[in-house]
């Protein structure tokens, strides 16, 4: 009875929030439901036959979740997913609430939750997932999330308490993630990529997990892809990258190696759920990027692509992706608000020097910390006279659009809140 009222009231509240333009109503209903019944999530899922999929990792959650949802929908399944800004417990509760009838029936075959790194252990106490995808673990907002070793340890503890038939889909190329598979008694399947390794930089600084997660010895890599991802082995305790790894999909709808990882994770999962190859293949062909993840927009007759880049690994990979496209117009946006992380020191861990090797590049910098970006470029020995710096976002976007030739693309690489702001300016719509 109680939950029925919560569902009813929650749906009402969500409609009020949306119609009053106070937001998209994806967290408050769940927040209140949990206030009145802390077992709300458990209660709703108790008698459900819906298969629950968790997607966790530092980078790629939103894209991977959307890929899976799209493939399963193309396979004729009814799928529910939380929106990317709703990846804490209140967002999970809201997603459930809004998709449950007042007779407490969930109207879906699959429910996919992308979950914040630090919320994952809590989420496992509320929900018993059937499948967990672990994408990667990079340093991200150390002021908010803390050290990655600590996160990995908490994940390991969370996995130990789950039923033995839980399916894990793990990144074999991330030593810390692969090690979680070795340590857990659950079923594992592995994905990775098979590409040309890149040469190791002269001074290998700021890698997170190039030391063995088991014994602490420095890992050997026969191939290094990016950050600590690659084909690795431990010379001391013999821990090695798993051998049965899915490293390819039929087609990659998004640019960049990081998206090949996301795609391989999604297709491995869907195949393991029995989706036929033909449907997987066709779905990849019809996939459209999610907002701010290589999203293409036309503005004042110019082609624009917005790419979210919120930590060193993400930014390095986004830079590589646009270099594959021979980008020549780039606007970089750095904000330091709560959702971005107040600490911007990570920009010094990006291989920005790489960008400066492009034969022709018009660079503009903006955001709350535009001058920190400018300093980063100065110390990378960029030609400062060719940089446009403005801490006013509207001016920066208009200038960069104007400077972009008609048949070329302006790439906007932005941290989270800067991406939302830029998108709002370009589309006239607010998303969150």
């Amino acid at each position: 009875m109680k939950n029925r009222i919560l569902i009813h009231q929650g749906k009402l509240l969500s409609r009020v929030i949306k119609s009053a333009n106070l937001g998209n109503g994806s967290t408050w209903p769940g927040h209140l439901a949990l206030q009145f019944n802390k077992n709300f999530i458990k209660d709703i899922l108790k008698n459900s036959k819906t298969i629950v999929i968790f997607v966790i990792g530092t980078n790629g959650k939103t894209t991977t979740t959307s890929l899976i949802a799209h493939i399963l929908q193309q396979a004729g399944k009814k799928v529910i997913q939380n929106s990317s800004g709703a990846n804490l417990l209140n967002g999970i509760a809201s997603t459930l609430l809004l998709n449950t009838s007042e007779s407490e029936q969930i109207a879906a075959d699959y429910i996919i939750f992308e979950i914040d790194e630090s919320t994952f252990p809590l989420a496992c106490q509320e929900i018993t997932p059937d499948v967990i995808i672990m994408l990667n673990l990079f340093r991200d907002q150390l002021d908010r999330y803390g050290e990655i070793n600590t996160i990995a340890l908490k994940w390991q503890e969370a996995l130990a308490a789950l039923p033995k038939d839980t399916q894990l889909i793990l990144n074999a190329d991330d030593p810390q993630i692969a090690y979680l598979g070795k340590k857990s008694p659950l079923n594992e399947l592995y994905f990775g990529v098979d590409e040309k390794g890149r040469k190791t930089p002269l001074i290998d600084h700021a890698s997170d997990s190039t030391y063995c997660p088991n014994c602490g010895e420095k890992l050997k890599y026969t191939k290094k892809y990016y950050s600590h991802l690659g084909v690795w082995s431990c010379p001391s305790c013999q821990l090695v990258r798993p051998t049965h790894v899915k490293t390819s999909s039929f087609f990659y709808p998004l640019d960049g190696m990081y998206n090949r990882y996301n795609t391989n994770a999604a297709t491995l999962l869907c195949s393991s759920l029995g989706v036929p190859d033909e449907i997987v293949k066709n779905s990849l062909g019809s996939f459209k990027p999610v907002f701010g993840r290589q999203e293409k927009i036309t503005f004042e007759g110019k082609n624009i692509e917005i790419i979210l880049a919120k930590n060193p690994a993400g930014m390095d990979q986004s830079i590589e992706a646009i270099m594959e496209k021979n980008a020549s117009n780039l606007l970089l946006l750095l904000n330091d608000r709560i959702a971005d992380g107040h600490d911007v020191s990570w920009i010094w861990d990006i291989d920005i020097e790489n960008l400066l090797t492009l034969p022709k590049i018009t660079l503009s910098l903006s955001g709350d910390r535009a001058y920190d970006l400018a300093l980063r470029f100065k110390y990378a020995e960029a030609d400062l006279s060719t940089l446009t710096i403005s801490d006013d976002l509207v001016t920066a976007i208009k200038g960069a659009v104007l400077a972009t030739p008609q048949n070329e693309t302006l790439y906007i690489l932005a941290t989270y809140t800067a991406m939302l702001d830029a998108r709002k300016i370009l589309t006239g719509k607010k998303i969150l």
Partner: protein
Amino acid sequence: MNNLSLTIGWLYPDLMSTYGDNGNILSLQKRLEWRKINATISPLSIGSKPQDLLSCDLIFMGGAQDKQQTIVSNDFKNGKAETLSEMIENNITGLYICGAYQFLGKYYKEADGTIIDGMGILDLYTENPGTKTPRLIGNVALQTTIFQKELIIVGFENHGGRTYLGEKVHALGNVIKGYGNNGKDGTEGAMYKNTIGSYMHGPLLPKNPQLTDYLLGKALETKYKEKIELSSLDDSIEERAHEVIVRKLRSGV
């Protein structure tokens, strides 16, 4: 004087580099090169020898996660701790951030009460009051007089340990905004001879070019045994980035 050069020893770049420490190295290197002074970066990680340390004119060491710090601590036991101690006593210039700063002190008491010996080079100690006490995190600005004039240094701090200074060292400066060494006594960092320890990353040097030049000047002076005047550089972008933080802190954001 022509053909000046400095060798900068970067200790454990693969392990002690959590908060953009690459920026500190780039600042030191580029500000030498822009003045036509030759800069060599010498990365010294696990397995390097005490002699490798001795060939350096300036030492930099950054912060790390706990696990990495234990690996480094063990590696230091092979004679390197003694060598570094002698170098610091002999006025070799160095900058030590966060974990490295704590490491130079007498001991570090972990959240669970375990005491880890430091190198005992600097008269200071660090205690972590436990996991229930919040970490000290945020932008920080301090006032210092080490450059014979009042100057504001800005950075970002993120530490669980609280550091307390003894009599043989003095603070890098007094906190205007932020927490500093322990959030109580208003001090930040420590100075001893030509060695500076601090919790400030951000990284510290790019936005504080006077501090970078102070370190470079001291290192050149020790190496060439005479005061060497550094030519001035255009620091307008550094000043703008510095100003953004000062403004942010003044407005209470």
